[in-house]
Symmetry: C2
Subunit: 254 residues, 2 copies
């Protein structure tokens, strides 16, 4: 039988400002709530606090919009400075329609507004995705090793993305250290010995999705502790969430 799974939000994580020791803040909040952090767990962290701690904030007042940003902003009734920030985070704009810019980010993520977000941000500022979310996850995990005086949980940095063909958003993995991004059953056998040709499980994205179900968007619950995914947790940091990105020229699933 597959082990059961439990997940809970870490209560009491304080507001995170640029330069904050995020790993320590989560570690302290967990300890205060009697939540033990161990090497068999996954610690899912909303990218927004990671970005804030890393200072990945842009003040709109500091932005000078270029011609393209002004043109798009005019078309969509948006703030040209906000559009300029989105363009600067994008390597490609895939669609610009009905007020939404679908962009490919430099990480290879395809999402609305290149991951630039105004919600839960200080007034007049926008939050960007971390520069290198896998590196962020590795740094957070390394810091937890120090704080815990031993092995640390896997760290999963998440963001919520819209999807093609379906309404609503799902949380996905943008950064990863110590969790297998994918579980490849292609070529393995099913319960009847048949080959499971198309089965290639996006473990880290599914773990991100579950973490989203244990925190409310309006509360300060950026961190979720997941138990029951030990079989996907590794001492080494592994390939990271970059392994989940499909190259544009290969974009056909499964």
């Amino acid at each position: 039988v597959t082990p059961p799974l439990t997940a809970r939000a870490v209560p009491g994580v304080p507001e995170i400002a640029p330069g904050a020791d995020l790993a320590a803040a989560i570690y302290e909040a967990a300890r205060s709530s009697g939540i033990e952090l161990g090497p068999e767990q996954v610690l899912a962290i909303a990218h927004k606090v990671v970005s804030k701690a890393e200072g990945r904030l842009v003040r709109l007042a500091d932005v000078v919009p270029g011609a393209r940003a002004r043109e798009l902003a005019e078309r969509f009734g948006k703030d040209p400075r906000a559009v300029e920030v989105v363009l600067s985070e994008a390597v490609e704009i895939l669609r610009a329609e009905r007020g939404v810019l679908i962009a490919r980010t430099r990480h290879g993520f395809v999402c609305a507004n290149a991951g630039v977000d105004a919600s839960n941000a200080p007034e007049g500022t926008l939050v960007l995705l971390p520069e290198d979310p896998d590196a962020s996850a590795r740094r957070l995990r390394a810091r937890l090793v120090t704080l815990l005086g031993g092995e640390a949980p896997a760290v999963l940095v998440t963001d919520s993305f819209g999807r093609a063909w379906r309404h609503g958003q799902c949380e996905i993995a943008v950064g990863l250290a110590g969790l297998a991004p994918l579980d490849d059953w292609r070529g393995r056998r099913d319960s009847r010995g048949l080959e499971l040709r198309a089965t290639w499980i996006a473990v880290a994205d599914q773990a991100a999705a579950l973490a989203d179900l244990v925190r409310a968007k309006d509360s300060h619950e950026p961190a979720v502790v997941i138990d029951g995914l030990e079989r996907y947790v590794t001492p080494e940091d592994g390939p990271g969430a970059a392994a989940l990105v499909r190259a544009p020229q290969e974009d056909l699933f499964p």
Copy 2:
């Protein structure tokens, strides 16, 4: 604080054949394992056993491939009968490349092979998606009400789909009774009182994803019991997973 979440597979669900009383089989297996089913829970069921119980199986020996199926099969080195079954389940083929047919099913789902699957199926047969997976979920829930002598869990019928732009598959909701498909925060306020413009959570898809993490693909664990989503469970069956399907002409996220 958002309530914690737990999920576990129901062990010992027997092999399901056409005409089987699937709700009773899961109910009995849960009871044998001391797992109580209650109205605050979500019962996630892999579509494959739902399809099998409903007789949504096609024997390849009974299929006569048409000209288009023969042509595609030739191009991709596939069984023309299997391709014929995929074409008969599709209302539109979006892409046919590198051996994969990406199709829109009559339910509006966009997925590989129109949801037709050979794994974990009796030899020489293919498993189709349920005719109307929301109706399947409602029937299963109604049957559980009878078996439990009172209110039943929400029922979530799932399948694993590939995604655009990302590797691997995530389990999603194809049928639903008693679970909110979406949680709409658009227009609500975040922790600082700012409007959360793009936040529209695909609750049911995320619940499906989490269920996939508590069952192994090679074991007989088609049913997963989820606790901790009470706030999304409703006595009425609600709009179903059909509400998650984005109309083709609207296909731009979020």
